[in-house]
């Protein structure tokens, strides 16, 4: 008998940790991983609400989020590899061609 609110608060903790990691970290790969962490936090709220309403539609939405996250990871990591070939760095501060 766990309150649903606890699951949601746990998801909020994970989501805001993901936001903090996204803003603080300077490594492209770590930033990308914090996006995955935020997606996982949102998935947890979906599952908690699906449990609350006795419906599986929320779980199916989580399934689609997982598929999109997998596709996004493949394309994003390919972009990171292409970026590393061009700039020889993973630091986000040194990728500033558009800014200069």
């Amino acid at each position: 008998m766990v309150p649903i609110a606890w699951y949601l608060v746990l998801a909020a903790i994970l989501f805001s940790t993901g936001i903090a990691a996204f803003l603080i970290r300077r490594n492209v790969i770590t930033i990308f991983m914090s996006i995955e962490l935020m997606l996982n936090a949102v998935n947890l709220t979906f599952v908690a609400f699906a449990h609350m309403w006795h419906q599986v539609s929320g779980q199916i939405f989580v399934f689609f989020v997982m598929v999109v996250a997998a596709a996004e990871a493949a394309v994003g990591l390919a972009i990171i590899i292409a970026l590393f070939r061009v700039r020889q760095t993973l630091n986000i501060d040194q990728v500033n061609l558009l800014k200069d």
Binding site: V2, A5, T30, V62, A70, A74
Partner: protein
């Protein structure tokens, strides 16, 4: 039993997330993210979503994180160094994340009564198993999105190959 599962694996997930935040080396962040994903799989199981628990372990911890670890090792990513931008990010990032956390937690705890509690016994004693119900919905009501997803995966594969290919 369920409350013990929630506390143990919830704390494990929070510890993993904080470790991801404070580690300087990307491989340590990747390994702690795997801890978060495995404990989230247990929490899905405790919410009666067995199919998603299995998919979480196979797709996220199994496929996506292996891809991340491969890329970290392929690019030989080292520790990140302190720059002027990172100090500014600390000033802006911590309060921003804390504000989002406070807003969400306030909202959830205010609506605590309306949200209710979990009831695993109902979820497990049903005549239809979770995976039967999910697949029935997936192949009747959500058939078109499911098929469109396969096209999305195909495009993602092609895009990854094109982007990662060496230019000759």
């Amino acid at each position: 039993m369920q409350i013990a599962l929630f506390i143990i694996f919830g704390l494990l997930a929070v510890a993993g997330a904080l470790n991801l935040l404070f580690q300087r080396h990307p491989i340590n962040s990747a390994l702690s993210l795997i801890v978060v994903m495995m404990s989230l799989a247990v929490l899905y199981f405790s919410l009666g979503a067995e199919f998603l628990a299995a998919a979480q372990v196979i797709v996220y911890s199994g496929a996506v994180m292996v891809l991340f670890v491969f890329v970290i090792m392929l690019l030989n990513a080292g520790e990140e160094e302190e720059t002027r931008g990172s100090r500014m990010a600390y000033i802006a990032g911590i309060p921003g994340a804390a504000a989002v956390f406070c807003l969400l937690t306030f909202l959830f705890l205010k609506e605590r009564e309306a949200l209710g509690t979990t009831h695993l016994r109902d979820a497990l004693s049903g005549t239809v198993s979770n995976i039967t119900e999910v697949s029935h919905q997936l192949f009747t009501s959500f058939l078109l999105p499911f098929e469109v997803t396969s096209v999305l995966i195909l495009v993602a594969i092609l895009g990854a190959v094109v982007l990662a290919r060496k230019e000759s």
